[in-house]
Subunit: 364 residues, 2 copies
Amino acid sequence: MSDRLFAVYEVPGPAAEAEKTARAIAYEETVEVPLEFPLPARIREEVVGRVGALTPVSGGKFRVEIDFPAALAGGRIGTLLNLTFGNASIWPGVRLVDIVFPDSFLASFPGPNFGVAGLRELLGVQGRPLLATALKPMGSSDEEFAAAAAAFARGGGDIVKDDQNLVDASFAAFETRVSRIAEAVAATGDKCLYFPHLAGPQEELEDRLRVVLGAGLKGVLICPAIVGLDTMRSLASKRKAVFMAHPAYSGSLYAERSHGIEHSLYLGTLMRLAGADITVFPNAGGRFGFTREECRAIATRSRAPLGSLAASWPAPGGGMSLDNTGSMTEDFGQDSIWLVGGRLLMHPGGPEAGAQAFRAKMPV
Amino acid sequence: MSDRLFAVYEVPGPAAEAEKTARAIAYEETVEVPLEFPLPARIREEVVGRVGALTPVSGGKFRVEIDFPAALAGGRIGTLLNLTFGNASIWPGVRLVDIVFPDSFLASFPGPNFGVAGLRELLGVQGRPLLATALKPMGSSDEEFAAAAAAFARGGGDIVKDDQNLVDASFAAFETRVSRIAEAVAATGDKCLYFPHLAGPQEELEDRLRVVLGAGLKGVLICPAIVGLDTMRSLASKRKAVFMAHPAYSGSLYAERSHGIEHSLYLGTLMRLAGADITVFPNAGGRFGFTREECRAIATRSRAPLGSLAASWPAPGGGMSLDNTGSMTEDFGQDSIWLVGGRLLMHPGGPEAGAQAFRAKMPV
């Protein structure tokens, strides 16, 4: 069985309908022919997905496991997505909730370059969560961003990242802005990492990453749903940088629970498989309607055993204030990153005092 | 106004709630700070999106236009997706239904390399739809695929593409399979194009495209939602190939009408902007629940005026039989591609007779 990959779906009932949908997925994602197509026995037995038992779950839906020869996923992320959720993504009411990978598949993926342990070592921080912020609002000058980043570093912040909305007019403008902010953070003497947003034309991403690392920086923010999950994997395999994955543009996959891909599978497991050292997601209680259970599940999957892949950092963000840090500790524990944007930057004493205030709330 | 980009959303009502959501999107997609953040007047006026009038639409929802400085989309697809549907994608109930681009934005995009006119010229076919099929089922041998492709060509087929599920074990296996099928099609002497599926590790895509063109082929099948829309755009800018875009893995964006991106905006406009010469989508009446209106809208947007971009070919596929070709003609007209897979391949007389039968149903 070790050479088979198990994809778990939730599909609408009743049972007979669910069974029909499951069989259709098993066909659609492999041979993609009508059920009455004269398939050779070998292909029917060795290629078509196998439908397992149906289990009723809430909402009149059924959970069903379909297993495929792992070779059909080709040890590649794109092929995996095509196999488990290519045409199935277009089927109304189908949700991919889990994938169980054989070790043979996972062995093709180096996973996060740094992960939990590596990033702790890089920062020299043990025994507490990390504190991160975002440079915003867009429209600020390079100097304003540089000053905010430096203040955050002085206040004890660990990671300052570009807001994913920041746009540089050109490669040169990106280079100038990044080096200015990098210098300001370095000048504080504090061990704070600055992660610029790696975006722009696809053919420039590698060069931009080179610029970032050339400025002495250790990592980047990236939006895998936009550039492609395998693009992040490819960049991470070429350069030993920290990749902080932002969920922009991926929400359609999980925001409606009636279809798509389960939050924790996409934001936890798949991001990690694609090399995310850090996975950013909207925290419960914020403005995006994630539940505490969904957020905890993302954190669990980002750190649970997965072949020999390093654990990723869960980075819940959005709507965090000094009043709800207790639930952060309870939900995510030490190996998590508190991503605090607006509330930290608008602290009456500025980003330095803001960072100090959030650091003071951390468990030690 | 020409330097502004208009994004049109449908959001849940009642009106007061819709207004609140629209203002939140305008903030979220630009400055991404709490509403009470002390924004400088310049940023508030020049950067934050502007919310237009609300119009009630069906289902208790409201349609609202939010306009942004076009510079924030940076003349790039990734930046455009981030601006119009980055964090907004995570918001339950928000659907992006239209984008009105200023010419200044469109001018950055060459669009399809061939488009409707160019592909007609390449094939020497005027005055009728094109007939396409897919090589399947996976698990067949290279020889079986080659024989089916050649038979389809002899029967008068115009385009034979790989099924998007086909997986080659290695670069070498891809090279062997592609050249074998290419030779078989060329040997017929018929003017039929073969488009291999361009997939695999991100860092190999360019080399694989080189192999395809080196084998004398003119284009590829590609899954932009998997490799990234801007990856297709980048590849198309480097090589004058035909790009046939397949919707695998993109379904979560549009399959549920309650959120995501409108079918025709994604499969019509955005695919074309990203350089798709052909956009494949599931036809109405097939197994994916698209309505005739949705399919017609995709076709309309793929061919409507859009800056100076060439028109793309709509390629409805899925569930087509010899009995429903009349609706194809009615819905999509001459400038469309009939993509017929299983039903053509399983014709009692084989793919050659299958191609002849479908060609005979075409309006002339």
